[in-house]
Amino acid sequence: MELYKFLPKTNCKKCGKPTCMAFSLDLLQGKVKVDDCPPLLEPKYKKQYDALKELLGSEEGQQKELKINIDDKLCDGCGICVTVCPVNARYCPSSLSGKAPDYPPEKHQLFQVIGGKCELLKIEYCRRLEAGGRERECRVCETYCPREAVKIEYV
């Protein structure tokens, strides 16, 4: 949100993103650079451009990778992350009612409880990477874990 404040907020789509908000999120993850926003290079946005450059500092340009860490020592396999994950819910409808998903897992499925511990099967289809708009800020697995075992971080 800090970054969004300094963008033009015109949603001109010149950068190739649908909104300035989407651009700011990508900026945060280091997928795009400040220079990718054409209006920012115009003289009237000079102040904001400088502020952004300063905010991002040395981090700019480094691709940050999304990681969902599940602490094996804390996890007790209650399966709440399996139930609440919206991607799981879409592709394995049985997990909606708290039922354990089938095995072998569906190819989009993110979480599965194996051997009493939750395992992250794959991360490619996570909403933080796939979805657009506000859905990209999805954090349900981290929020609802009663053991605080799930951690979302960018490395």
């Binding site: 007790d76 909606l96 009612s97 354990a100 089938d102 409880v113």
Partner: protein
């Protein structure tokens, strides 16, 4: 894909995927850590695989014939045997256990009697509904945990009742309100959202809260301004509004409120409060769910009810059921027994020393699948197959729903199931009687 039922705790999750070749279990999917432990017990280090008899103070491996002969001898030499446990076995085994108790004129009781048995009877007499897990998933909108910490004792309970999305509750977590009443901030508090109501109560002050709610029932205006039992006025207001406004509320009682107190009966007053709320409420109601530990804790009451019309403890004299005021605790306290048959439980480490030392004085036959503190003092140890993994049977879930357990692998060392073993003892005693 075939799914199995987990017998790790009283929730009896019926969606477990097990990969096995009929002899060993290679992978368990969907079960929580507690369930996984149950499956691991098959090849655990402390597993008993052959019958044991105490000779010169030490347990020695013997043949089945010798072990059962010794067990029969102990049973025959005692006039009032005490049969206790029966919460980790199937309903079929419980039925045979009751038959055996009738044959040998014993006193039979399950773990539920010192845990949750009385609450059920009281709830029935007050007309409070017992709800089921599916009903909470599909219709529930208020979940109260009172002295219960399911995040650590029944791990998948919160997942099912709070997060699952059902027919009339498509949004799942968002539409359900969670209220927790507990003296300490347990792990269950971490799933709390903004709309939920965490109530940290002062220890042993539950009774003040309940009595206040009973007096002021449904009138928000007359709540004392300084609050009650460490809970401030606004939270009490919210609690009352939740209690009286719920369409399909459920109160989950854990071990925290079951502890007996000499001056008052906490659970009884709590149930009376629920009855009061249910009477005044027009559109909704609050129902009850008891959180048990052992997987077939609820079963014994049902089996006893169906065979003798009495739920809970049974005492027999001259092969007839007699009315008794004795409870398991008073029976042990007065030492009104002269031998004990313990089935699938560990009273020596669970009961306080004043009681367990009295059990240890009398000859003890243990029917279990693991070495426990009880097996260290037992005269005879008869091992059995693990119900739900090595043998099948019926069990009652914590919401009193019967669920079928299946056999997944063959028992190690061809151990008999609890039902078969108790049946064999029953047969042997019958033969002895006719001679």
């Amino acid at each position: 894909m075939k799914r199995f039922t987990c017998s790790g705790c009283s929730l009896l999750c019926d969606d477990i995927i097990v990969q096995s070749d009929g002899l060993f279990i290679s992978e368990v999917m969907g079960a929580c850590l507690k369930g996984k432990e149950r499956f691991d017990q098959v090849s655990a280090k402390n597993r008993i695989t052959s019958p044991l008899i105490r000779k010169d103070g030490e347990l020695k491996e013997v043949s089945w014939d010798e072990a059962t002969k010794k067990a029969i001898e102990i049973i025959k030499n005692s006039s009032i045997p005490l049969l206790y446990g029966f919460s980790n076995v199937s309903c079929e085994a419980q039925d045979v256990g009751i038959k055996l108790a009738q044959k040998i004129n014993g006193f039979i009781d399950s773990n539920a009697s010192i845990c949750q048995g009385k609450i059920l009877n009281k709830a029935k007499s007050l007309g409070i509904n017992l709800t089921t897990i599916t009903e909470i998933i599909n219709k529930g909108d208020l979940i109260i945990l009172w002295g219960a910490n399911p995040a650590e004792t029944v791990p998948r309970l919160l997942n099912k009742v709070l997060f699952s999305r059902g027919k009339f509750r498509m949004t799942g977590r968002e539409i359900k309100t969670l209220v927790i009443v507990d003296p300490i901030k347990t792990a269950s508090f971490r799933v709390m959202g903004v709309r939920d109501l965490p109530l940290i109560i002062e220890p042993n002050k539950d009774i003040d809260l309940i009595r206040m709610l009973k007096e002021e029932c449904c009138s928000v205006d007359s709540i004392p301004s300084q609050g009650v039992a460490g809970i401030d006025k606004n939270d009490l207001k919210r609690l009352l509004l939740h209690l009286t406004g719920a369409e399909n509320g459920v109160i989950i009682l854990g071990q925290g409120v079951i502890q007996p107190h000499p001056d008052y009966n906490l659970v009884e007053e709590l149930l009376e409060l629920l009855q009061m709320i249910n009477e005044r409420q027009e559109k909704g109601r609050i129902s009850l769910l008891l959180m048990g530990g052992h997987f077939n804790m609820a079963g014994f009451d049902h089996v006893a009810l169906s065979s003798f019309g009495v739920s809970g403890k049974l005492e027999f004299k001259h092969n007839q059921l007699i009315k008794t005021d004795d409870t398991l605790v008073s029976k042990i306290e007065k030492e009104n027994f002269d031998s004990s048959i313990i089935v699938g439980t560990d009273p020596i480490s669970h009961l306080p020393h004043s009681l367990s030392s009295k059990i240890a004085k009398k000859p003890l036959i243990l029917i279990d699948n693991h070495h426990t503190a009880t097996s260290h003092i037992a005269e005879v140890v008869l091992p059995t197959a693990i119900t739900g993994i090595e043998s099948g049977g019926l069990a009652y879930r914590l919401d009193q729903v019967p669920i079928e357990l299946n056999k997944i692998i063959n028992p190690s060392n061809n151990l008999p199931s609890d039902e078969e073993l108790l049946n064999q003892l029953y047969r042997l005693i019958n033969q002895g009687g006719s001679e």
